[in-house]
Symmetry: C2
Subunit: 342 residues, 2 copies
């Protein structure tokens, strides 16, 4: 296996496709639903009363990160976490994922295997199952090694109403930890830079953090994971969708020192760099402290902080109060900063 | 717009990403669910009693067809039909699709627009809505123009139990029409061949055909659309999954004359060539005639035929009775025949 590579015939729909599915995909990702190999998979949705009171949510993301393997993660871990997190940002319990692979002819099968092991481990940790899959193989040069798409289904518990449109003036803005680690870990790896303290991606499934937060209070109005475009773009999106203003305290936003240093070196502002294991929570002011404590008690929220507040003034705009005490508009990312970061 | 191309910044998560989403994606694919632009979309599932009696099914497929535009379709039409058909092959009513786009830097926006128009038209015809989306842009040379993933959710009506494991000895095997049109239309286009009668892909959403068949009889045991690997591979899959044998009458299988001619020229056997608008139905013998009539009365089943039967003998194997009267084993596709056919 270790010397073998992906062949065009692995995507033919014939014998070799079936071999690849059984020797690799089902070996690592298999479960009774996926193993049935139906054109479309049955989805048991558990207790009907739970379903009727809840709300199904659905999301999709493609992953094209380069390189495939990076400090703190790989494309497989990312493909699970990214989609689990999109479900979690609605307060949903992630249930089922699909996985679509596009492989380049010549990709070493051991690389594919390593990605599948990572997907299996991460899916297990997040409590989701991959129940539908597809593999395409394209000729050398038509794709860069391996792209993955995952779509996900989750169930929002009754009474949870979390939306990018639900931030309200007076709400406090929480951030679950330090920003910029993912993007700068990828960029330093790509540029071949070495630091004394190596940068690690923060890539993580956030659904258990969200559950812990919801256990502390149901008055969480908005959640969003600041991926592409970073914290600044995600806050701007919420400000626009909720038609509110925001004021952010620059010094309250945690940034790890090596990230700041790498950002300075590469000319990248951590406020605009992708994160894959952080969330923004906009919550009822009264409950903010309880939610913050729940976050800090969770492994993925230890550095959580209150970073600002929602205002009725300047709807659609995010204002940063800088460390120097000045105020400036913090815009959405303009132009392109980091291609193939996720 | 017509002179513009996809830029890396269109995938940044910043301003240009938002512009692309609103000026193109929402313009053509928009609906209240998608327009909400939440991290994960709410899925209304209609009447609760219907849901409780039915069964949700889920599927995914990536589309990497080359060229993007071909006689009878394009990658957008294919991305809707392929996933709708996977749902329909379980007897499901297709409800919701996600769509993930991977774009090459430099792709003309007018090509993307043409694909989106096609997706919108096909989704409308199939009665499905695209409710979740994602776009990634990769640098020139890292993907060949445009790949699409669609995942789909459907609801199987109460009482319908269709599975690749459910074929039984004595059942009759129906085919909804002529085989090989899609694969040979793509190949002749790719090779620049011209025929007097141009070949057209059969790409079509088959859910309404399946509904018509189910209205004629619920005793449909197995449905499968013979895509990659063709009719021969799909029959072998069912024979294996149901642990039954099959006998197919070669002369009963409809093949259009230009397809046969192109297959001869290119050395491609239509039995192994992909279809995108055909289905195999394995049904209770008594009801076969009624189902066949329902198929022939439908625009996508006019050339439907009974092509063979399921046997208890030689489980897992498909035997072809040739036009010459001889019998031979019809294997699954070995090796690779047509890369990037879907």
């Amino acid at each position: 296996m270790s010397e073998q590579v992906v062949l065009l015939a692995h995507g033919s729909g014939g014998l070799l496709s079936h071999e690849l599915v059984s020797s690799l995909f089902l070996k690592y990702l298999g479960n009774p639903i996926l193993n049935a190999l139906e054109d479309a998979s049955n989805l048991p949705l558990g207790d009907a009363s739970e379903l009727l009171g809840g709300q199904l949510v659905f999301t999709t993301d493609s992953y094209v990160v380069k390189p495939l393997f990076f400090p703190g993660g790989d494309i497989g871990k990312l493909a699970i976490c990214g989609t689990v997190n999109d479900l979690a940002m609605r307060g949903a319990v992630p249930l089922y994922l699909s996985a679509g692979f596009i492989l380049e002819e010549g990709l070493p099968l051991r690389d594919l295997e390593r990605v599948l092991v990572s997907m299996a481990t991460t899916a297990e940790a997040a409590g989701v199952r991959i129940v539908a899959g597809d593999t395409k193989v394209v000729e050398r040069g038509s794709v860069d090694k391996l792209f993955i798409n995952t779509a996900g289904l989750g169930l929002v518990p009754p009474g949870v109403r979390i939306s990018a449109t639900a931030a309200r003036p007076g709400d406090l803005i929480l951030l679950s930890g330090a920003i910029g680690d993912h993007g700068l870990a990828i960029m330093t790896q790509r540029e071949g830079l070495r630091f004394q303290t190596p940068l690690q991606s923060d890539c993580a499934p956030l659904n258990s953090l969200v559950s812990a937060m919801l256990a502390a209070s149901r008055r969480i109005h908005t959640l969003r994971d600041p991926t592409r475009g970073g914290l600044a773009s995600a806050l701007n999106e919420i400000a626009t969708q909720s038609a509110v203003g925001m004021e952010i305290e620059e010094q309250a936003v945690p940034i790890h020192e090596p990230v700041r240093a790498a950002g300075d070196l590469l000319g990248l502002d951590p406020f605009y760099v992708a994160n894959e294991g952080k969330l923004i929570a906009i919550v009822e002011r009264e409950d903010a402290q309880a939610i913050l404590e729940a976050m800090r008690a969770h492994p993925y929220g230890q550095e959580a902080a209150i970073i600002g507040q929602v205002t009725a003034e300047h709807p659609g705009r995010v204002v940063l109060r800088t460390i120097l005490g000045t105020r400036r508009l913090m815009d959405m990312l303009a132009g392109e900063q980091l291609p193939r970061i996720c």
